[in-house]
Amino acid sequence: MSRGFRYDAVVIGAGSAGLVAATRLAQAGASVAVLAKGVGCTHLAAGTVDVLGYAPELVSRPLEAVAALTHENPQHPYARIGQQRIGEALRWLQATLDAGPLAPYTYVGDADHNGLHPTALGALRPSALVPSTMAAGERTQLERVCIVGTPALRDFHPSLCAANLSRAGVQARAVSVELELERADMSTLGIARRLEEPRWRAEFCARLTPLLRSEERVGLPAMLGLREPHTVHADLEHRLGRRVFEIPSLPPSVAGMRLYESLRAALRAAGGRLMLGAEVVSHTREDGRLSAVQTGAAGHAASYSADAFVLASGGFASGAIELDSHWATHERVLGLALDGVPAPGEPRFLPDYQAAQPLASVGVAVDAQLRALGASNVYVAGASLPGAVPWREASGEGIAVASGFAVAQTITGGRERHG
């Protein structure tokens, strides 16, 4: 018996690039299936949208800096996406959050300006868009701040965060609040769930209030609720009588989970399908086109054919691109050609860990339309793209959102479903 499902478009990967591309495709009227081995990068990332933070100096106006960057490096993903679409993509993302299940929780900021926001270590990190619950932590608004932690949260050290913020010129100090928890250790996710219970939240505020000084803002790890972040954040500001902001912390990233849930809801509302656990294990190519991919479903492989495919499976970090023990690089999902691979004899790694490591900018070779070379109906988005060094540039989420947006636009020719 011949087997298989058929969609207009199949997206591989459920990180932010894949979910943005799939949602846009579905909104344009295409039938879409997202195939993903598991949940993607959202749950591990900060939950902010960093377009361009360093080039290599600190960037305050990202879109302007993108113009200079792409002039210098025409292989950079932004060179193929274009400044205008970066702005459009970010505005679309904000509109999606505004209309989503977590509203009025949304993303604030724009692609023309970076804000500087504290990290868990107390460094100041440039971001274009941040969740509304993080907005009050922007550097220009920070004079006096109290960083709050709890002993059960072992991945966040308020005194370390405060000490480093003080070095950056913020008057910062740290307090730790004992909480009634059933467990000796808890993640930000566990606390986020508790903070959605009004009584527990009231108790938390009652314990914190006497520790605070006047004119201090409060900075907390990103744990102000998962389903109702706006309510939790507003209630904390009300009870504590001051501005409160979240600081991204170690995984699981509560802010990233909110982004995932918002995009998933938008995809579902547009009629797209999400198949988790569906790792692409083989594919069928005909005449330079991809005709179908097969996933490792239970019992037997499931086959998905489509007119267009989006590869958004990530780079080395997700395992979609690998460097094997023979020092050869491979794109493991579809076996596509890679770009940016150091030539034989050239260094693959540099001695300085933080340097622009040559392997970091390896990605699937694409044309100006972000189409994979050798597979004319495969479009590439996110960390699968070559030419960028996201962690040095602070550009990962920006590339993901903008390239996901761009490939969907290319595939549908800019169509949008009306009515």
Partner: protein, 413 residues
């Protein structure tokens, strides 16, 4: 391959764990109770301390419901739920298996005893004193949803008729829920398949062993699933013949869980059965995607809430039932996105876990109530019983809607 080598295969997936905590974010049990520390903690982390021949280090793994969501969301392919199932088996061997778990895990035995005396059995099982006693003596929670014996067996109905001959044949795996509790579901499955031109073969069959497996009775589970596999495989005459089932957790048992959790991946009969087994909605949607499903549906102007149960999600093919329901004109389908109803087979009926199960399901129950739907569609029978119990709404298999939309009439009552 030896048992040990097969276990090592599963355990080898641990090396891929990068401790990213994505499984922890999705675990419905850890979100509902501090008694379960989460799949990463109980699985990849504790597994390092589980040494062959030494006592189990962590009793909390008993609170894992086995829903399998952790393995589904893991971006690294770690077999978290499967590793935890094996750890639970080890714990059970060490602690001893309670009498309750020896009884409630044998649906074939229960069905054979209960069916001839169905009215009396159903009445007795709904009397408060019986339930209080059952909780005290057996540890079956007095409020937990228990199914009603139908009083007739699906297989008798199937044996008394013959399916019209066709070149397209399917072997029907109806499972125990259809056999003893909901024979009408099987009658609808047969009618839908025949409507689409299939000849339906219904072999004699018993339990797939899933309840035994999820309660940690692995040896008995192996016997049950291999016996079933042989019974089904005997009818796989042609290359094209497939097996189709409507109990989604039992088809998953045949497709994957028995092979991985019970370390039976090398059994050739089970492998053949796994490759050929389809969930009913999976089969129908594939037919539709290649233009072979009859779509002579009449309009059903009503609202239905659809919940994809965890075990259906474990097939790793998305939600085929949702797409099928959306083919029916005027049917307003509301997709529930809560993960789990909390029953997880027999987990939620156990006295010490009932409350946890109800808390796990709370999000789903709230979504159902908010949906405005009078009926919930769900592919798994134990989940339907739990949802009906908690929401006071009717819960049916998605194929009920297809059956009605096809206008296939009333089955035997």
């Amino acid at each position: 391959m030896s048992d040990l080598a097969e276990l090592a295969l599963l355990r080898g997936s641990l090396d891929h764990c990068i401790k990213c905590t994505i499984c922890e974010t999705a675990c419905p049990v850890a979100a509902a109770t501090p008694l379960f520390p989460g799949p990463k903690y109980a699985g990849p982390q504790s597994e390092r301390y589980r040494v062959l021949g030494e006592p189990s280090v962590d009793a909390s793994v008993d609170y894992c419901s086995g829903c399998g969501i952790c393995s589904q969301v893991c971006p690294q392919g770690v077999k978290i739920a499967e590793i935890n199932a094996q750890a639970r088996d080890k714990l059970k061997r060490q602690r001893g298996v309670p009498l309750r778990d020896r009884i409630i895990t044998r649906p074939t035995w229960l069905g054979r005893v209960g069916t001839p005396v169905a009215p009396l059995a159903n009445l007795t099982l709904r009397l408060r004193p019986t339930r209080v006693l059952a909780q005290r003596l057996l540890g079956v929670h007095r409020d937990a949803a228990l199914p009603r014996f139908a009083g007739r067996r699906f297989s008798r109905w199937a044996a008394a008729r013959s399916s019209p001959r066709s070149a397209r044949r399917v072997v029907y795996f109806h499972g125990c829920g259809t056999e003893y509790y909901e024979p009408w579901e099987g009658e609808k499955v047969v009618a839908i398949l025949e409507h689409n031109g299939f000849e339906v073969i219904t072999p004699r069959q018993d339990c797939c062993g899933l309840p035994l497996q999820s309660s940690g009775l692995f040896d008995d589970a192996r016997k049950a699933v291999l016996k079933l596999a042989r019974a089904l495989a005997a009818h796989l005459d042609g290359e094209e013949t497939i097996i189709v089932g409507n109990a989604t957790s039992c088809t998953l048992m045949l497709k994957r869980e028995a092979r991985e959790i019970l370390a039976l991946s090398e059994d050739p009969t089970l492998r053949l059965v796994a490759e050929r087994t389809y969930d009913i909605c999976e089969l129908l949607l594939e037919l539709h995607h290649r233009g072979e499903l009859r779509t002579d549906f009449r309009a059903l102007p009503e609202t239905v809430a659809y919940h994809a149960p965890c075990q259906q999600q474990g097939h790793w093919i998305g939600k085929p039932a949702l797409e099928l329901l959306e083919l029916i004109p005027e049917l307003d389908v509301r997709e529930m996105d809560a993960r789990c109803c909390g029953i997880a087979g027999t987990y939620g009926i156990k006295a010490e876990k009932y409350e946890i199960g109800m808390r796990v399901g709370q999000e789903l129950f709230s979504q159902v109530q908010a949906s405005g739907a009078a009926t919930v569609a769900c592919d798994s029978e134990t989940c339907r019983w739990q949802i009906a119990h908690a929401t006071r709404r009717e819960a049916v298999h998605p194929i009920d809607y297809l059956y009605r939309a096809y206008g296939l009439g009333q089955p035997g009552v």
